[in-house]
Amino acid sequence: MKQEREVILNPMCLAIPGEVLAVEDERATVDVGGVEQEVRLDTLSEDVAEGDYLLVHTGFAIQKLSPEEAQETLSLFDELIETNKQLEEEREV
């Protein structure tokens, strides 16, 4: 089953994060889930440096990701949860 999935894995909407190992002109070598992949950067607005994280779609970078933003997302989850808890408590009072 797993093998079958790998063979027919569809790339059309899937984008996977990877870490930049090296940059040369409009191309980067990116570690995507342990596999080194050449990624084109001409679809990306920002500059890219070694150590950056990229969201990669069919061999092209579509977004620069930052660990801070990932952490921020988790904070947003918690913020929503907290706000709602407070609202509920206020209502109960």
């Binding site: 569809n10 069919t58 061999g59 977004q63 997302t73 947003l76």
Partner: protein
């Protein structure tokens, strides 16, 4: 980088929040992305939520909505000796007479690629004409544009069948019998186009539209934001996937699309023609259009086979389980309609994972 986007504790909190906010009636939430459907079914998210929240996949599978006319055109090009390069999922979609895979077994040169750049590379190493079947939504289109702008080999061309998500969402909202309470907008399409294109839709139709990521917590978070909007009677476009989506999207990719493509009316399998919902190569890049190069005129394709509910599934008006062919006559190894073919197609995904498991 290790973050807990599958954290059970946070998931429970978000589910509780959704439970508190969801109105006491059936709520129909539509997402528009096969990857969302996989994440929802694979993680059993429906089983965590109250029964009255009905989550469906709309026209989120590029393979399902590619009209048979485009597929038939690709088959014609292959019969004329061109090498056809296509994403894996396209290989098994039934055209009017056959699929690409069937044509391949008859000796045509049809190759599976993972990227448009692979198609261009194949062209570099052959004298033959190489055609890339340009199927996909906004996420996939900038890559084709980048290749065409980057001096591609002369024997390379594109069969443009690229489609746009916001007009498809609009067409669903226009259906009189489609009571959609909220949309989870596709994360990676939105990485490219941003949040702005959903604003007028949310306003015009009074429907919450929240961009969602693909981890279980991302999806629960998007649902929680939708329920918040519903209970506050404040429908709007909102970003629930901040770490990968900027409000304006990806400017470079948007510019690439604009430079190479132009909007056109497009036929969506299962829906019909939607105005300005497709992209074709603009005047400056017409010579790379395989239809022009081979002088192929797309012909009206066949409709779905009788009793196939794919058109209803694609428009979020039916679930796979409502189709009498599902799992009986229609399976991934022997698909009857397009919704069973693609890995991002709702019938295929429900076949593999089950739809709404009772845990």
């Amino acid at each position: 980088m290790k973050f807990k986007f599958k954290d059970r504790e946070r998931a429970d909190e978000l589910v509780q929040l959704i439970n508190r906010r969801v109105p006491d009636r059936r709520i129909k939430i539509v997402h528009v992305c096969g990857t969302h459907e996989v994440a929802i079914t694979e993680n059993g998210l429906r089983s965590l939520l109250p029964d009255r929240i009905d989550i469906r996949e709309g026209p989120g599978c590029p393979v399902c909505v590619t009209p048979t006319s485009d597929l038939d055109a690709a088959l014609k090009l292959a019969e004329r000796g061109a090498i056809i390069t296509a994403f894996g999922d396209m290989m098994n979609v039934p055209g009017t007479a056959k699929s690409l895979n069937e044509l391949k077994s008859e000796g045509a040169d049809v190759r599976l690629v993972y990227s448009v750049s692979e198609g261009a590379k194949i062209a570099e190493n052959t004298e033959k004409q190489v055609v890339f079947l340009g199927v996909g939504f906004e996420t996939t289109t900038p890559m084709t544009a980048a290749i065409l702008k980057d001096d591609p080999p002369e024997n390379f061309s594109i069969l443009p069948s690229n489609k746009l998500i916001p007009p498809a969402m609009k067409s669903l909202l226009e259906l009189p019998d489609n009571d959609i309470d909220g949309f989870i907008a596709p994360g990676h399409v939105s990485t490219i186009i941003g949040v702005r294109p959903y604003e007028s839709l949310a306003e015009e139709y009074g429907v919450p539209i929240v961009v969602g990521g693909f981890e279980p917590l991302d999806i629960l978070y998007a649902l929680a934001l939708i329920m918040n909007q519903i209970s506050n009677s404040d429908p709007k476009a909102e970003n629930g996937y901040n770490r990968a989506v900027d409000y304006e999207g990806n400017p470079k990719s948007k510019k690439l699309i604009k430079e190479v493509f132009k909007e056109t009316d497009a036929t969506w399998r299962g829906i019909g023609t939607i105005p300005n919902s497709g992209l074709t190569l603009n005047r400056n890049y017409e010579e790379w259009n395989a239809l022009n190069r081979f002088e192929v005129e797309p012909e009206e394709g066949i409709e779905e086979p009788p009793n196939c509910l794919c058109p209803q599934v694609i428009t979020a008006r039916a679930t796979p389980g409502e189709c009498e062919l599902f799992k009986e006559k229609c399976t991934p190894s022997s698909p009857y309609g397009p919704c069973m073919v693609g890995e991002e197609a709702m019938c295929n995904i429900w076949y593999r994972y089950g739809g709404r498991p009772k845990l």
